[in-house]
């Protein structure tokens, strides 16, 4: 099955990326979180490295999926910013000619996480592109990159896939019933990875449900502080679970790519490779709590988005269908009744502020406490 099959709900982007006449040496894939930027980037990479435009089954395609293809270099950001040394190393690789394929492909998953100085190192490489090297950058939007970089890449924009598209994907990939898949896609607000987790992991679904219950139940400073502590626990559990899943998947893929079964011992000549994978995973774990809180804040935000919808739409009519948190409709309605739309907007601003504060190193629990206090103010 073609690698493009997994890039769901993005027909325009796929058309552009798979058009051989559109080929250029530097690409930028943009789209909101969960729209599948990295997914599209690696599908594109596979289509360039495969002898059959990304057949999805040949060794090239499988090696790209396992991130072990010799002509693929990539930067998946484990840290908050990409270091200048990491980019220098990639730029060096860009000047080697491909060893087995027609192209050498370099993916930078979070190109928005480069400081200006780092961007300039990349810019040099983009200005004098080696003939057979293709750069694929990913970022939430074009505005996240320096204009000098923007002007040297061809941009492909992904859109938020519809709930139905995501649900269909879940049904196809995992054989989940359409109703369950739709529910997961709705709760995840079409974030593909999140929807998949909610559909497949009962614990993840429970954690989300508890988050929403906590938010709708806060009425004072005591509640706020207790709920903040609980939210942090949930975020930690969520981050740990996700890290573990991701690490195991990655390790399994890496083993498969070198022909090792799950329980086979690692031969001596491959120890370095597995060691470096392990280190990469550890580094990623340090960032994961912050990401875990970020994910939870998306759920928190969805509650106040529902509250606003509930308030702004005539209350005489039933607008349950418009809610994200349909399963918590009673809590949402009660919250909407206790608040003015101005207060709901203030709550949304407070959530945004908490996100920014946590990103700039404010103690997470304190940022969450302040957020919940502001959100619950009458």
């Amino acid at each position: 099955m073609s690698v493009w099959h997994d890039v769901v709900g993005q027909p325009e982007a796929v058309a552009t990326l798979s058009d051989p006449t559109a080929m250029t040496h530097a690409w930028l894939i943009t789209g909101p979180p969960g729209s599948g930027r990295s997914n599209a980037a690696y599908a594109f990479a596979a289509s360039l490295l495969c002898d059959d435009n990304g057949c999805g089954t040949c060794p090239h395609c499988r090696q790209v999926a396992a991130r072990t293809h010799p002509d693929l270099a990539y930067l998946a950001t484990e840290r908050v910013i990409i270091s200048i040394d990491e980019v220098r190393a990639l730029v060096q690789k860009a000047y080697f000619s491909p060893s087995v394929s027609t192209y050498r492909v370099i993916v930078i998953e979070d190109a928005d996480r480069m400081a200006e100085r780092t961007s300039n190192v990349l810019l040099k490489a983009l200005e004098e592109p080696p003939e057979r090297t293709v750069w694929i950058l990913c970022a939430p939007s074009e505005a996240d990159l320096l204009p000098t970089i923007r002007s040297r890449v061809r941009s492909v924009r992904l859109r938020v896939p519809s709930i139905d598209t995501v649900a269909t994907l879940l049904t196809q990939r995992h054989g989940i019933s359409h109703d369950d898949a739709r529910q997961a896609a709705r709760l995840a607000q079409s974030h593909i990875g999140m929807a998949q987790r909610l559909a497949l992991s009962p614990e993840a679904a429970l954690r989300r449900a508890e988050t929403v219950d906590l938010i709708t139940g806060v009425t004072g400073v005591h509640d706020a502080v207790m709920a903040a502590a609980r939210l942090l626990d949930i975020a930690t559990a969520d981050a740990n679970a996700l890290t573990k899943e991701r690490d195991e998947l990655e390790l399994g893929q890496a083993r498969a790519s070198v022909g090792l079964g799950p329980d086979d011992p690692v031969p001596a000549n491959m120890r370095t490779f597995f060691k470096s994978l392990e280190e990469q995973q550890k580094r990623r774990a340090t960032r994961s709590l912050r990401d875990g809180i970020d994910r939870i804040l998306v759920d928190v935000m969805s509650v106040y988005r529902d509250v606003l919808i509930q308030q702004l739409v005539e209350s005489s009519r039933d607008h349950g269908d418009a809610l994200i948190n349909l399963e918590h409709a009673d809590g949402v309605r009660a919250l909407a009744a206790r608040r003015s739309p101005e207060q709901a907007l203030a709550a949304i601003a407070a959530i945004e502020q908490a996100r920014e504060r946590i990103a700039s190193n404010v103690a997470p629990v304190l940022a969450l406490e302040a957020m919940l206090i502001q959100a619950s103010r009458q």
């Binding site: 004072g220 400073v221 005591h222 706020a224 502080v225 207790m226 203030a346 601003a349 407070a350 945004e352 502020q353 920014e356 504060r357 700039s360 190193n361 404010v362 103690a363 629990v365 304190l366 940022a367 406490e369 302040a370 206090i373 502001q374 103010r377």
Partner: protein
């Protein structure tokens, strides 16, 4: 007993604040480098260093003459003739060490006697003149520093910069023949930035209680809780509504180089516990296991709550979150951010209700 007057033209003496800046022709040494001389002037506000110099002199003198007699005089409350009594040769010829306190507040009678004594000072006597600051006793100071009198000066200047304190602590360990790491010294100075006396006794404790190299880890083991102790002192005062004490403790901590981040964390932790125990009637033992914290902390939080309202506690926590954001880079003036927090907390969180909301600074 021989004495030496060292004329030092090249050494740059460090002057204590408030000490007349007339040029000095005598040797200026640090407190632990002092050697017996007929006149020793301990100038500058740091009493600890003056004490140190005196103790050191006494030890040196007693090593030479175990019968050395110590006499103490108060220059502010001086009985005329007292100095001459103290320095006059004794029947048994013991060496005499005369400690003169409060020379910066000296009486005219003292001044008269000391000016008469200095040009003819005895060589089996050391007089130690303690002068903290100011111009009182100017003629005495000028004479001591003129080089015409066998004198040395001990700089008892306040150790202001971290570097001075680091040098001080490093010297303490060198004298004890102990090896330290730069990070170890720095950690120690950070923990005891508010008082040289405390810093010195911390050094002494480490020298006595540990063996081997003194590292950051050694310091953390012994004094890890100290920085937090200062932070909690500020938080305790503010939460009790004692604005003046909270501010004074805060300023002192910040002036002596305390990091504002643990300060804010101490506020957050106390207010958080207050919010957790608010309205919960369970016993403190039971609550301790639920909300975290020791039973005494629960009791304390309950007592603290008596002055607080629900709204006030909310505002206070918001102020702490603002301050944490401020000290972590959002504010160009982190000190102001912390002061604002202290002010709001010390008012039990009663604020004009516009400052909050999701404002971005």
């Amino acid at each position: 007993m021989p004495w030496v007057v060292v004329m030092s033209g090249s050494a740059k003496p460090r002057r204590a604040t408030g000490v007349p800046s007339s040029s000095s022709a005598i040797k200026v040494v640090s407190a632990f480098r002092v050697s017996p001389s007929p006149v020793v002037l301990c100038s500058g506000p740091e009493d600890f260093l003056a004490d140190r110099a005196f103790t050191h002199l006494r030890t040196v003198l007693r090593a030479k003459d175990p019968d050395t007699m110590v006499v103490e005089l108060d220059a502010a409350d001086y009985v005329p003739g007292g100095l001459f009594d103290a320095v006059s040769p004794s029947l048994f010829g013991e060496y005499r060490l005369v400690r003169i306190e409060n020379a910066e507040k000296c009486s005219d009678e003292f001044l008269e006697d000391v000016l008469a004594y200095l040009p003819h000072c005895a060589d089996d006597v050391t007089i130690v003149i303690r002068h903290r600051s100011g111009v009182r006793g100017k003629r005495m100071l000028e004479l001591v520093r003129s080089g015409d009198v066998p004198a040395i000066e001990v700089s008892c200047a306040e150790l202001k910069s971290d570097k001075e304190k680091i040098d001080f602590a490093a010297e303490e360990f060198v004298r004890a023949d102990r090896i330290t790491t730069p990070a170890g010294i720095r950690a120690l100075v950070n923990a005891f930035s508010s008082s040289v006396a405390e810093l010195a006794s911390a050094c002494a404790q480490l020298i006595a209680d540990t063996t081997g190299e003194i590292t950051e880890q050694t310091v953390a083991t012994y004094y890890g809780g100290r920085i937090e102790a200062t932070a909690f002192a500020v938080a305790d005062a503010a939460i009790a509504g004692n604005y003046a004490l909270a501010m004074a403790t805060l300023r002192h901590a910040l002036d002596t180089g305390a990091d504002p981040v643990p300060l804010v964390a101490a506020f957050a932790s106390k207010l958080r516990l207050m919010a957790k125990v608010a309205g919960d009637r369970r016993s403190s033992n039971e609550l301790a296991s639920v909300v975290g914290g020791a039973p005494w902390q629960i009791d304390r939080a309950r007592r603290d709550l008596s002055n607080w309202s629900e709204r006030g506690l909310s505002n206070a926590i918001l102020a702490v979150a603002d301050a944490d954001s401020g000290v972590k880079g959002a504010s160009r003036d982190p000190v102001f951010a912390v002061e604002k927090m202290v002010t709001i907390v010390a008012r039990f969180g009663i604020v004009a209700e516009h400052g909050h909301g999701a404002s971005h600074r």
